[in-house]
Symmetry: C2
Subunit: 127 residues, 2 copies
Protein backbone atom coordinates (compact mmCIF):
# COMPACT_ATOMS: atom_id res chain seq x y z
CA UNK A 1 0.00 0.00 0.00
CA UNK A 2 1.59 3.19 -1.27
CA UNK A 3 0.71 5.46 1.67
CA UNK A 4 2.82 3.32 4.00
CA UNK A 5 5.92 4.67 2.21
CA UNK A 6 4.97 8.21 3.31
CA UNK A 7 4.79 7.29 6.99
CA UNK A 8 7.64 7.54 9.45
CA UNK A 9 7.17 4.77 11.96
CA UNK A 10 9.15 5.21 15.19
CA UNK A 11 11.68 2.74 16.60
CA UNK A 12 8.74 0.69 17.96
CA UNK A 13 7.18 0.64 14.47
CA UNK A 14 4.33 2.99 15.40
CA UNK A 15 2.71 6.28 14.40
CA UNK A 16 0.33 8.27 16.60
CA UNK A 17 -3.33 8.40 15.55
CA UNK A 18 -5.76 11.08 16.66
CA UNK A 19 -9.40 10.10 16.29
CA UNK A 20 -11.92 12.87 15.73
CA UNK A 21 -15.70 12.73 15.37
CA UNK A 22 -16.29 13.63 11.71
CA UNK A 23 -19.59 15.37 12.44
CA UNK A 24 -18.98 17.29 15.67
CA UNK A 25 -15.19 17.74 15.50
CA UNK A 26 -14.82 16.37 19.05
CA UNK A 27 -11.44 14.72 19.65
CA UNK A 28 -12.28 11.23 20.87
CA UNK A 29 -8.97 9.50 21.60
CA UNK A 30 -5.31 9.05 20.79
CA UNK A 31 -3.94 5.62 19.94
CA UNK A 32 -1.04 4.10 17.99
CA UNK A 33 -0.86 2.22 14.71
CA UNK A 34 1.73 -0.08 13.20
CA UNK A 35 1.92 -0.80 9.46
CA UNK A 36 -0.68 -3.54 9.68
CA UNK A 37 -3.13 -1.36 11.64
CA UNK A 38 -2.86 1.38 9.01
CA UNK A 39 -3.35 -1.10 6.16
CA UNK A 40 -6.32 -2.85 7.81
CA UNK A 41 -7.95 0.49 8.65
CA UNK A 42 -7.74 1.65 5.04
CA UNK A 43 -8.77 -1.72 3.59
CA UNK A 44 -11.77 -2.27 5.87
CA UNK A 45 -12.86 1.31 6.65
CA UNK A 46 -12.88 0.45 10.36
CA UNK A 47 -10.26 1.83 12.75
CA UNK A 48 -7.61 -0.67 13.86
CA UNK A 49 -4.80 0.12 16.28
CA UNK A 50 -1.78 -1.49 17.86
CA UNK A 51 -2.30 -2.03 21.57
CA UNK A 52 0.99 -1.19 23.27
CA UNK A 53 -0.17 -2.69 26.58
CA UNK A 54 -1.44 -5.95 25.10
CA UNK A 55 1.09 -6.15 22.26
CA UNK A 56 -1.51 -6.98 19.62
CA UNK A 57 -3.51 -5.60 16.72
CA UNK A 58 -6.87 -4.35 17.89
CA UNK A 59 -10.08 -3.64 15.99
CA UNK A 60 -11.59 -0.71 17.88
CA UNK A 61 -14.95 -1.92 19.18
CA UNK A 62 -14.14 -5.64 18.93
CA UNK A 63 -15.42 -6.21 22.50
CA UNK A 64 -17.80 -3.29 22.95
CA UNK A 65 -19.28 -3.02 19.46
CA UNK A 66 -18.27 0.64 19.54
CA UNK A 67 -16.58 0.65 16.15
CA UNK A 68 -15.27 3.68 14.27
CA UNK A 69 -16.24 3.97 10.59
CA UNK A 70 -13.44 5.96 9.00
CA UNK A 71 -14.61 8.77 6.73
CA UNK A 72 -11.20 10.38 6.13
CA UNK A 73 -7.57 9.74 6.99
CA UNK A 74 -5.18 12.69 7.09
CA UNK A 75 -1.43 12.68 7.37
CA UNK A 76 0.73 15.26 9.14
CA UNK A 77 3.73 17.14 7.74
CA UNK A 78 6.26 14.77 9.33
CA UNK A 79 4.39 11.59 8.42
CA UNK A 80 4.53 10.42 12.04
CA UNK A 81 0.90 11.15 12.96
CA UNK A 82 -2.46 10.36 11.38
CA UNK A 83 -5.84 11.96 11.90
CA UNK A 84 -8.85 9.67 11.52
CA UNK A 85 -12.18 11.40 11.03
CA UNK A 86 -14.79 8.84 12.03
CA UNK A 87 -18.39 8.01 12.79
CA UNK A 88 -18.20 6.67 16.33
CA UNK A 89 -20.76 4.07 17.45
CA UNK A 90 -21.55 4.47 21.17
CA UNK A 91 -18.56 5.89 23.02
CA UNK A 92 -14.85 5.89 22.26
CA UNK A 93 -13.75 5.51 25.88
CA UNK A 94 -13.76 2.25 27.82
CA UNK A 95 -14.99 4.25 30.87
CA UNK A 96 -18.31 4.95 29.11
CA UNK A 97 -17.62 8.49 28.00
CA UNK A 98 -18.08 9.60 24.42
CA UNK A 99 -14.47 10.90 24.39
CA UNK A 100 -11.43 9.74 26.34
CA UNK A 101 -10.73 13.43 27.03
CA UNK A 102 -13.55 13.72 29.59
CA UNK A 103 -11.46 15.56 32.19
CA UNK A 104 -10.59 19.23 32.12
CA UNK A 105 -7.49 20.52 33.88
CA UNK A 106 -8.28 23.14 36.55
CA UNK A 107 -6.67 26.60 36.68
CA UNK A 108 -3.03 26.54 37.85
CA UNK A 109 -3.01 22.75 37.27
CA UNK A 110 -4.73 22.11 40.61
CA UNK A 111 -6.18 18.77 39.50
CA UNK A 112 -8.93 18.04 36.99
CA UNK A 113 -12.72 17.96 36.87
CA UNK A 114 -14.99 15.66 34.89
CA UNK A 115 -16.57 17.39 31.94
CA UNK A 116 -17.85 15.02 29.30
CA UNK A 117 -20.82 13.05 28.09
CA UNK A 118 -21.28 9.55 29.51
CA UNK A 119 -22.99 7.44 26.84
CA UNK A 120 -22.85 3.87 28.13
CA UNK A 121 -22.37 1.80 31.27
CA UNK A 122 -19.04 -0.04 31.03
CA UNK A 123 -20.27 -2.72 33.48
CA UNK A 124 -23.02 -3.69 31.04
CA UNK A 125 -20.97 -3.38 27.85
CA UNK A 126 -17.86 -5.24 29.01
CA UNK A 127 -19.74 -7.62 31.34
Amino acid sequence: MKILESLKFDEAGLVAAVVQDAASGEVLMVAYMNREAVARTIETGLAHFWSRSRGKLWLKGESSGHTQAVREVRLDCDGDALLLRVEQKGGACHTGYRSCFYRRVLPRGEGAETSGEKVFDPGTVYG
Copy 2:
Protein backbone atom coordinates in the same frame (compact mmCIF):
# COMPACT_ATOMS: atom_id res chain seq x y z
CA MET B 1 1.80 21.29 40.25
CA LYS B 2 -0.88 18.79 41.18
CA ILE B 3 -1.97 17.78 37.67
CA LEU B 4 1.50 16.36 36.97
CA GLU B 5 0.70 13.53 39.42
CA SER B 6 -2.24 12.47 37.20
CA LEU B 7 -0.06 12.13 34.09
CA LYS B 8 1.67 8.95 32.98
CA PHE B 9 4.86 9.99 31.26
CA ASP B 10 6.40 7.29 29.07
CA GLU B 11 9.93 5.91 29.41
CA ALA B 12 11.23 9.01 27.58
CA GLY B 13 9.37 11.23 30.08
CA LEU B 14 6.76 12.38 27.56
CA VAL B 15 3.00 12.52 26.99
CA ALA B 16 1.36 13.10 23.61
CA ALA B 17 -0.40 16.43 23.08
CA VAL B 18 -3.08 17.02 20.46
CA VAL B 19 -3.62 20.67 19.61
CA GLN B 20 -7.07 21.70 18.42
CA ASP B 21 -8.38 25.09 17.30
CA ALA B 22 -10.77 26.10 20.10
CA ALA B 23 -13.09 27.94 17.71
CA SER B 24 -13.27 25.74 14.61
CA GLY B 25 -12.43 22.35 16.12
CA GLU B 26 -9.75 21.77 13.47
CA VAL B 27 -6.96 19.47 14.67
CA LEU B 28 -3.78 21.47 14.15
CA MET B 29 -0.88 19.25 15.23
CA VAL B 30 0.43 16.51 17.49
CA ALA B 31 3.49 17.11 19.64
CA TYR B 32 5.02 15.81 22.87
CA MET B 33 5.39 17.34 26.31
CA ASN B 34 7.64 16.54 29.25
CA ARG B 35 6.86 17.65 32.82
CA GLU B 36 8.41 21.05 32.28
CA ALA B 37 6.48 21.66 29.05
CA VAL B 38 3.19 20.84 30.81
CA ALA B 39 4.03 23.11 33.75
CA ARG B 40 5.17 26.03 31.56
CA THR B 41 2.09 25.71 29.35
CA ILE B 42 -0.25 25.89 32.33
CA GLU B 43 1.72 28.68 34.05
CA THR B 44 2.06 30.91 30.99
CA GLY B 45 -1.06 30.02 28.99
CA LEU B 46 1.13 29.51 25.90
CA ALA B 47 1.77 26.05 24.46
CA HIS B 48 5.23 24.63 25.15
CA PHE B 49 6.46 21.26 23.91
CA TRP B 50 9.49 19.02 24.10
CA SER B 51 11.22 18.77 20.74
CA ARG B 52 12.28 15.15 20.32
CA SER B 53 14.45 15.99 17.31
CA ARG B 54 16.24 18.94 18.93
CA GLY B 55 16.17 17.56 22.49
CA LYS B 56 14.97 20.83 24.00
CA LEU B 57 11.97 22.65 25.44
CA TRP B 58 10.21 24.66 22.80
CA LEU B 59 7.77 27.55 23.04
CA LYS B 60 5.49 27.04 20.05
CA GLY B 61 5.91 30.14 17.88
CA GLU B 62 9.26 31.20 19.34
CA SER B 63 10.73 31.64 15.82
CA SER B 64 7.58 32.25 13.77
CA GLY B 65 5.49 34.27 16.22
CA HIS B 66 2.72 31.72 15.63
CA THR B 67 1.96 31.12 19.28
CA GLN B 68 -0.92 29.12 20.70
CA ALA B 69 -2.94 30.71 23.50
CA VAL B 70 -4.32 27.83 25.51
CA ARG B 71 -8.02 28.10 26.36
CA GLU B 72 -8.47 24.63 27.84
CA VAL B 73 -6.34 21.59 28.66
CA ARG B 74 -8.01 18.19 28.75
CA LEU B 75 -6.62 14.90 29.98
CA ASP B 76 -7.39 11.45 28.62
CA CYS B 77 -8.54 8.39 30.57
CA ASP B 78 -5.03 6.89 30.72
CA GLY B 79 -3.31 10.16 31.60
CA ASP B 80 -0.85 9.67 28.76
CA ALA B 81 -2.33 12.21 26.33
CA LEU B 82 -3.41 15.85 26.61
CA LEU B 83 -5.73 17.87 24.41
CA LEU B 84 -4.95 21.59 24.15
CA ARG B 85 -7.74 23.76 22.84
CA VAL B 86 -6.06 26.91 21.57
CA GLU B 87 -6.27 30.18 19.71
CA GLN B 88 -3.66 29.73 16.98
CA LYS B 89 -1.85 32.81 15.63
CA GLY B 90 -1.02 32.37 11.93
CA GLY B 91 -0.49 28.72 11.11
CA ALA B 92 0.48 25.74 13.25
CA CYS B 93 2.59 24.07 10.56
CA HIS B 94 6.14 25.07 9.65
CA THR B 95 5.21 24.45 5.99
CA GLY B 96 2.80 27.41 6.06
CA TYR B 97 -0.42 25.49 6.44
CA ARG B 98 -2.95 26.28 9.12
CA SER B 99 -2.85 22.61 10.25
CA CYS B 100 -0.06 20.04 10.02
CA PHE B 101 -2.72 17.59 8.74
CA TYR B 102 -2.91 19.24 5.30
CA ARG B 103 -2.76 15.97 3.35
CA ARG B 104 -5.64 13.57 2.84
CA VAL B 105 -4.99 9.90 2.19
CA LEU B 106 -6.44 8.72 -1.14
CA PRO B 107 -8.79 5.73 -1.49
CA ARG B 108 -7.07 2.36 -1.07
CA GLY B 109 -4.06 4.20 0.37
CA GLU B 110 -2.78 5.13 -3.08
CA GLY B 111 -0.85 8.15 -1.84
CA ALA B 112 -2.13 11.47 -0.52
CA GLU B 113 -3.38 14.77 -1.88
CA THR B 114 -2.96 18.25 -0.45
CA SER B 115 -6.14 19.57 1.11
CA GLY B 116 -5.57 22.39 3.55
CA GLU B 117 -5.39 26.12 3.94
CA LYS B 118 -1.99 27.76 3.39
CA VAL B 119 -1.81 30.84 5.60
CA PHE B 120 1.82 32.00 5.41
CA ASP B 121 4.97 31.75 3.35
CA PRO B 122 7.57 29.80 5.33
CA GLY B 123 10.41 31.44 3.36
CA THR B 124 9.36 34.84 4.67
CA VAL B 125 8.54 33.75 8.22
CA TYR B 126 11.63 31.63 8.87
CA GLY B 127 13.92 33.71 6.63
